[in-house]
């Protein structure tokens, strides 16, 4: 068992190296490309891609040879204007060959397909208790997809975050996926294929994260909504931070800390006051709690990589967003700054204060 897992690790290292090579050949960005897999699921799928491409290349080569020979050899200009070809009816032998060989090729694809279909759907160890009786053997994340934002709840730890999924490296992470309003689809291309978040039921699958996202140029993996869900479907991005196990544990502990960190700086304190008047009704700022909220939890706002899931993480963008969320994500449900401020636009100072406060919300060191 041990040697097998060691072999598996070596194989993964090899896979990682080959993926790196592919990347160097120019196969997109490692944060998002399915061609640079960074986890078991994406790797399995990438292997299937290679296998099927190889088989299909074989088919294409055979067809191309017959095709090119035919259109070169049998042009009318070559065989003569008046030539009447022999009216061949067909050949049972040939029909058997080009029925039989494709069946064999398909069987070669069918075996790993069926195996992998069941393997990737195997969630039997999801809710297994750890031997020491404390918690589960694996991390579980409940994902709730909302009109253009994502909520991630960690039921075992009693914490909830949004827009940026935080996961441990080297461990199987299970996901319960659901949608709050319309159908969406949860997809982290470089980690593994997608699964729909339905309004009807909870879908369950797992992913594994082999690389710490800090190694990436942008520091995060990119996640996408893959099902048309309305005007801002294109902007329904999320980001993924994969942390080494110890850092992940620290993050969880920090999130579980109900004692809010003191707000530093005059401006941020003014911002907090404003926030408590205008925003707190919808947005929680503590990571402790349950999922299913109407608005994103902002406990980690300052740690985030993007504003609203896709804009650069600057105070300017935070201010723009608060003033007019519809401009940046048409069709989302957040009211404009004017409505939040009792019918008056926020002043520049107020926006500065809010931005300063929000940027200070952090659970990371």
């Amino acid at each position: 068992m041990k040697s097998m897992s060691k072999g598996l690790k070596k194989w993964r290292l090899f896979a990682l190296m080959s993926a790196l090579l592919v990347f160097l050949a120019g196969c997109g960005r490692e944060e998002i490309s399915t061609l640079i897999p960074a986890g078991k699921v994406a790797q399995d799928q990438f292997n299937l891609l290679l296998l099927s491409t190889a088989v299909m290349t074989l088919v294409i080569v055979v067809v191309s040879i017959i095709y090119v020979l035919a259109i070169v050899k049998f042009r009318r200009s070559k065989v003569g204007e008046d030539m009447i070809p022999e009216q061949v009816e067909g050949s049972a032998k040939l029909e058997a060959i080009w029925t039989g060989i494709p069946i064999v090729l398909l069987l070669i694809l069918a075996v790993p397909t069926v195996y992998s279909t069941f393997d990737l759907a195997d969630v039997s160890s999801m809710d297994v208790q750890a031997e020491d009786g404390e918690g589960m053997t694996n991390v579980t994340v409940n994902v709730m997809a909302n009109l253009y934002w994502w909520e991630f709840e960690y039921p075992e730890f009693g914490i909830v975050t949004s827009q940026e999924l935080v996961v441990p490296v080297g461990e199987r992470v299970y996901f319960n996926l659901a949608a709050a309003d319309v159908k969406h689809s949860f997809w982290i291309p470089s980690i593994g294929g997608k699964l729909d978040t339905n309004t009807d039921n909870v879908n369950t699958f797992y992913l594994e994260f082999d690389r710490a996202s800090s190694e990436l140029e942008d520091g995060v993996f990119y996640g996408k909504c893959a099902e048309l869900c309305g005007p801002s479907h294109a902007l329904m991005d999320f980001k993924v931070k994969s942390l080494p196990a110890d850092e992940f544990d620290q993050w969880v502990t920090a999130m579980q800390d109900e004692q809010a960190a003191p707000v530093e700086g005059e401006m941020a304190q003014a911002g907090q006051e404003l926030f408590e008047q205008s925003c707190i009704a919808c947005h929680a700022t503590s990571g402790v709690g349950e999922g299913g909220k109407t608005s994103p939890n902002l406990a980690t706002f300052g740690d985030r990589n993007r504003v609203a899931g896709y804009m650069e993480h600057t105070e300017e963008n935070v201010k723009n967003w608060i003033e007019d969320p519809q401009k940046y994500k048409p069709g989302n449900i957040m009211p404009s700054g004017k409505e939040l401020n009792g019918g008056e636009d926020f002043t520049e100072e107020e926006l500065d204060a809010l931005a300063a406060y929000l940027m200070g919300l952090s659970v990371e060191e």
Binding site: L49, Q87, V88, T113, K224, C225, A234
Partner: protein, 627 residues
């Protein structure tokens, strides 16, 4: 034209087409209206590619983009590809089996008018508060959440045009079963007739699930019926099943006739009998059959579970076998032949690599776990455009050139035709090949914009440039049509010189009764057999010249469709509480049924074309082979 249809004024011509039950004129109506919708869908495609040419573009707003993408898909599938194929089926299939019209000429006309009013209704949404915006698949949770009337236009429009298609399908089935000329056994039918037959059977079986689905959708939105409302015990996945139980066979409804067209072309322009004719027929039937077994491969990521996914993955792979059989038989048809690279043949030759590319990516997507990555990414956009543009649209363009002389009596310019082919073909590959990689690089489909710097910028720009080439190709085709019509150089029975089947044995265009004498079919490629035997008569005939019974035209199909169209507006505005909505709905439906009653009670025995008139046509060289 026959002596019955002398030169007529413009108004008379319009009236003639509005009341016609002649399959050849209905074909022209389908071709014109399908062509117009093809241009509209093409403009929508160009808007999409302009928007996505650069990152973060604001050429189209987010909401408008979703309307454009929905209407592009819906228009191209329901209002362009299908009607244009129906045009060729109507124009050619009765000729290929030696019939004087379809089995139910009145229903043929009704089918056309229902389709065109349905299409018009759908497109009026642009001017009446907003087009549908939930994608051509119209998934239920998003569709129910949509605030404009767009989804209602979609549901009602497709209901109307769907009736039309269903009627056409039944009509073609009955025609092929009952109206074949003596000697035209099933296994002597040309491949295009075979594929029309199988596609019609698919229409018959696949459209009812769609009708049920859109009817549920209409009821949910009009009366709050809650079929798809999860909070009230409804289920949105049911919509996906209903849609794809229709949607997958729909793909074959489109591609099988295209296969038929290419089969004819390969055979004609390599002067060879189709290699493995019976294998091709069997493969067509098998594809049609398997087409109903694979719908859930559109739903691999829905969460149906590994058992369902594995079964549907294997069933999907199985379709590759008969499709491969077809490809190899076509290759062996041209092998050893005498290939003439006319414009239709260029399209057929271009079709093989394009469709093989679309086919192999289809197999890749059949691998369910791999599809978790490919699904709803640009990879799938590339795939289905490879099969639909590389298969269906190339087939339509090929058929346009091939059958233009038979339908209109003039030849499209070969020179301009080849220009169209090359610009369109190069543009097509430029647009869609690169999209496979966009998908693999993580770009989801149906996005109105994308953030730069994710590795997608250059590929999107290349794709948009390709779209411009395709547009140029279509414009050249339009110029070709105009120039050809102005020149008006009439052609004979067999303008390509190597015609093999019955349609090439009669004048171009044929007289309205098609065959002065019903031919006797003596084998596969019956006209070729007569030619090779040096038959001066043109064909062997199964009857002496005599009076021919033909149906009368009727304006009733137009009015049935028109009143259904009117009633649909009542249904559409009913939930808004408009006081006139309910009366419009009821009166519209009442008038529609009234028209049906008139049709049922009024006896119409048709008329006879007199033997003398036929003989007169024959002397003028206006009918079959005899000069």
């Amino acid at each position: 034209m026959s002596s019955y249809a002398q030169k007529k004024g413009f108004g008379a011509t319009i009236w003639d087409y509005m009341t016609t039950v002649d399959h050849k004129k209905i074909a022209i109506l389908y071709l014109i209206s399908g062509g117009i919708f093809f241009l509209i869908g093409g403009v929508e495609a160009l808007l999409i590619r302009i928007q996505l040419a650069t990152a973060g573009s604001d050429f189209l707003s987010a909401g408008t983009y979703n309307e454009v993408l929905t209407m592009h898909g819906t228009t191209m599938i329901f209002l362009a590809a299908m009607p244009i194929l129906l045009a060729f089926m109507n124009a050619i299939m009765p000729l290929q089996i030696g019939a004087r019209d379809v089995a139910f000429p009145f229903l043929n006309s009704l089918g056309f008018w229902l389709f065109s009013f349905g299409g018009l209704f759908l497109n009026l949404s642009w001017f009446m508060g907003g087009a549908p915006d939930a994608g051509w698949t119209n998934y239920a949770s998003l569709a129910l959440a949509s605030e404009t009337h767009g989804i209602d236009f979609y549901s009602l429009g497709l209901t109307i045009s769907g009736f039309g298609t269903l009627i056409s399908g039944i009509n073609f089935l009955v025609t092929i079963i009952n109206m074949r000329a003596p000697g035209m056994t099933y296994m002597r039918m040309p491949l295009f007739t075979w594929t029309t037959f199988v596609a019609s059977a698919l229409i018959l079986l696949a459209f009812p699930p769609l009708t049920v689905g859109v009817f549920f959708m209409v009821f949910d939105r009009m009366f709050g019926a809650n079929f798809f409302e999860v909070t009230m015990g409804g289920n949105t996945i049911i919509w996906e099943h209903l849609f794809w139980i229709f949607g997958h066979p729909e793909v074959y409804i489109l591609i099988l006739p295209a296969f038929g067209i290419f089969s004819e072309i390969f055979s004609i322009f390599s002067r060879k009998r189709l290699f493995g004719y019976s294998a091709l027929v069997f493969a067509t039937i098998l594809i049609g059959f398997l087409g109903f077994m694979v719908w859930a491969h559109h739903m691999f990521t829905v969460g149906l579970g590994p058992t369902a996914n594995a079964i549907f993955a294997l069933a999907t792979m199985a379709i590759a076998v008969p499709t491969g059989v077809k490809i190899f038989n076509w290759l062996l048809t041209i092998w050893g032949g005498s290939i003439s690279f006319t414009t239709p043949m260029m399209y057929a030759v271009g079709f093989i690599p394009s469709f093989v590319a679309g086919g192999v990516t289809g197999i890749m997507q059949a691998i369910a776990p791999l599809d978790y990555q490919l699904h709803d990414s640009y990879f799938i956009v590339a795939h289905f455009h490879y099969v639909i543009v590389g298969g269906v649209v190339l087939g339509i363009l090929a058929a346009t050139h091939l059958y233009w002389p038979k339908m209109f009596g003039t030849m499209l310019s070969e020179k301009l035709g080849k220009w169209t082919f090359w610009t369109f073909f190069i543009g097509f590959h430029l647009t869609f090949f690169i999209q496979h990689f966009l998908g693999l690089l993580g770009m989801p489909r149906r996005v109105y914009t994308f953030v730069g710097g994710q590795g997608w910028d250059l590929f999107n720009l290349i794709s948009s440039i390709g779209a411009a080439f395709m547009a140029i190709g279509v414009i050249i085709l339009l110029v070709n049509v105009v120039l050809t019509t102005i020149k008006n150089e009439r052609v004979g029975n067999d303008p390509w010189g190597d015609g093999r089947t019955l349609e090439w044995s009669i004048p171009s265009p044929p007289p309205f009764y098609n065959f002065a004498q019903t031919p006797l079919v003596r084998g596969l490629d019956t006209y070729w057999i007569e030619k090779m035997e040096g038959n001066k008569e043109g064909m062997t005939y199964s009857e002496p010249i005599g009076d021919i019974h033909m149906p009368n035209g009727s304006i009733i199909p137009f009015f049935i469709s028109f009143f259904m169209f009117v009633a649909a507006f009542g249904a559409l505005y009913f939930p808004d509480g408009k006081p006139w909505a309910l009366p419009v709905l009821i009166i519209g439906l009442a008038l529609m049924f009234g028209c049906m009653v008139i049709r049922s009670l009024k006896d119409d025995h048709g008329f006879y074309v007199k033997k003398e008139d036929i003989l007169k046509d024959l002397e003028g060289g206006k009918t079959d082979g005899r000069k």
